[in-house]
Amino acid sequence: MNRRNLIWIIVSFLLSVATIFYFVNYPGGKMAARLLNFETITKAYQQHILMVFVASAAAIIVSVSLGILITRPFFSKWASIVDNIVNIAQTIPSLAILALFFTYLGRGFSTAIFALWLYALLPILRNTSAGIQNISPGIIESARGMGMSNLHILTRIELPLALPVIMGGIRTSVVITVGAAALASFIGAGGLGDLIVTGLSVSRNTLVVAGGILSALLAIFLDQVLDLIEDSLRIR
């Protein structure tokens, strides 16, 4: 168990709690207090985490599968096409993606999840395919030469070896998603973005700062948790 991760996890957690307590006690005015109370913050937090969790989980499943698929010799000609599509998706600003999906899927949670999911795909997909492609061909060849089936080469050689790279992609993606989820507030999906956007619209800095700090701490927290998971997944 990595001590540095653990310290960050504990520190970011405690800082989040402290932030909440501070702003609930010093909301900076009656108006800001309408959002800076335990009930509202807890709800925003829950919505935020749920969005990040569902979007990231879906992105991991799809991107890792896709990444595996496009590294199979059979599908290799699709690799650049898939890569390009996902690349283009990434270049669209996240707010535009949200707006786009709002038009077709309506407001709220599921739209936000879908948009965040799309946005979260690329780092994981790219790292999965890169992680697998960068394995020394000699290793794969010697596995094949010893009679390993393709499935075993994937599960016993390629995935374990690519795991650190894949996890790197997942971490990047989750951190991006925590940030992008704040924008989901624009389409009525709630989350910590409610604090930030409302604060901006009525010039109440406590709201903006509270929302910003909490989502930043959430990103740090999740990043470190994932790092810890990566460590424990890696066979020592």
């Binding site: 009656k30 108006m31 407001r107 507030s185 624009f186 389409i187 009525g188 409610d194 009525v202 109440r204």
Partner: protein
């Protein structure tokens, strides 16, 4: 505090510029008078659809009455237009009573009675050499909207009706779409709750541009919007009457320089019947024609003026 200081500074600068420009403006209009019987009127407007339509209406009506007109519509931002009026760069434009009251006259408490607000700004601006002509019923303020069909089915016409319905034990869930600002302000949702004595079952906060879509698609049952937005008509939505006059009023009225009016007092009589005809639904429809049917503001204004017999 800081903001209002900046505002004062900006306005002072405009006034100063206006003073200098005003002199030359007067000279210009004097010389105009010599060459032409009815003189030249420069009409301005802000940059959004409704303002462009109102500006074109004014231009068309004055032209029809035999004035030389200069089109200076589409200026960016309220302060720029107001500054242009004060400096004499433009002679008139349409302003909202609430905007005049809060932004230009620096009042903090909004007024919710149309006549009271109009009288207040008219009186105050008289000292600035500006005249507020008769205001239109169109009130571009916050509104609470529902789908027309739904409102009819539940026999809801006003916010009071909605409050009564929401307070029934077995009512259908009402989710309210609002932008972030309205959701938290005293004179927004919080005030509505207090004034009308009810609460929505759930509030969904979102970008102001998409509350209309959310309501149209039935994802929410009520939404805030701006009363004369074109989408209200095109999405088949309805404004619930603010029967307790909670929302600050933003009636549109032509504001004209005193000197221009002195030279052509007839202008007031030309615009009065037009203003009288412009209510929320009418304006919403005109906005809709521009925004959704992609017609030119001038074309829309001309058609409407002709249909109502204001011009030939």
């Amino acid at each position: 505090m800081k903001k209002s200081k900046i505002l004062v500074l900006v306005i002072s600068v405009f006034l100063l510029v206006g003073l200098v420009a005003g002199c030359s403006g007067q000279e210009a209009s004097q010389s105009d008078q010599e060459g032409d019987t009815k003189g030249t009127v420069t009409v301005g407007s802000k940059e959004f659809t409704e303002q462009l339509v109102l500006g074109q209406m004014t231009l068309l009506a004055l032209e029809d009455a035999g004035y030389e007109v200069v089109d200076n519509t589409g200026l960016q931002g309220s302060n720029v237009v107001r500054g242009a009026l004060e400096s004499g760069e433009i002679d008139m434009y349409w302003e909202y009573t609430g905007t005049g009251w809060i932004s230009y006259l620096q009042n903090d408490e909004p007024l919710t009675d149309p006549q009271e607000c109009f009288d207040a700004v008219k009186a105050a601006d008289a000292e600035n050499g500006l005249v507020w002509l008769d205001y239109a019923p169109l009130n571009n303020t916050y509104t609470v909207m529902m789908q027309q069909e739904k409102a009819d089915a539940l026999a809801i016409k006003s916010i009071s009706d909605l409050a009564d319905y929401s307070n029934q034990a077995d009512h259908e869930e009402i989710v309210f779409a609002t932008d972030h600002e309205f959701s938290i302000r005293d004179d927004g949702l919080v005030g509505v709750y207090e004034k009308y004595g009810f609460e929505f079952d759930e509030v969904a906060t979102m970008d102001p541009g998409i509350t209309y879509d959310a309501l149209k698609n039935g994802e929410v049952q009520a939404a805030m919007g701006f009363a004369t937005d074109g989408r209200i008509k095109s999405f088949n939505l309805v404004n619930l009457e603010d029967d307790k006059q909670f929302f600050p009023v933003y009636n549109a009225a032509p504001v004209i320089r005193q000197d221009t009016l002195d030279q052509s007092p007839e202008i007031a009589d030309i615009l009065a019947p037009i203003a009288e005809k412009l209510d929320d639904a009418t304006m919403s429809n005109l906005n809709y024609l521009v925004d959704s049917e992609h017609k030119e503001p001038r074309e829309v204004a001309e058609t409407w003026l002709k249909d109502n017999g204001f011009i030939k």
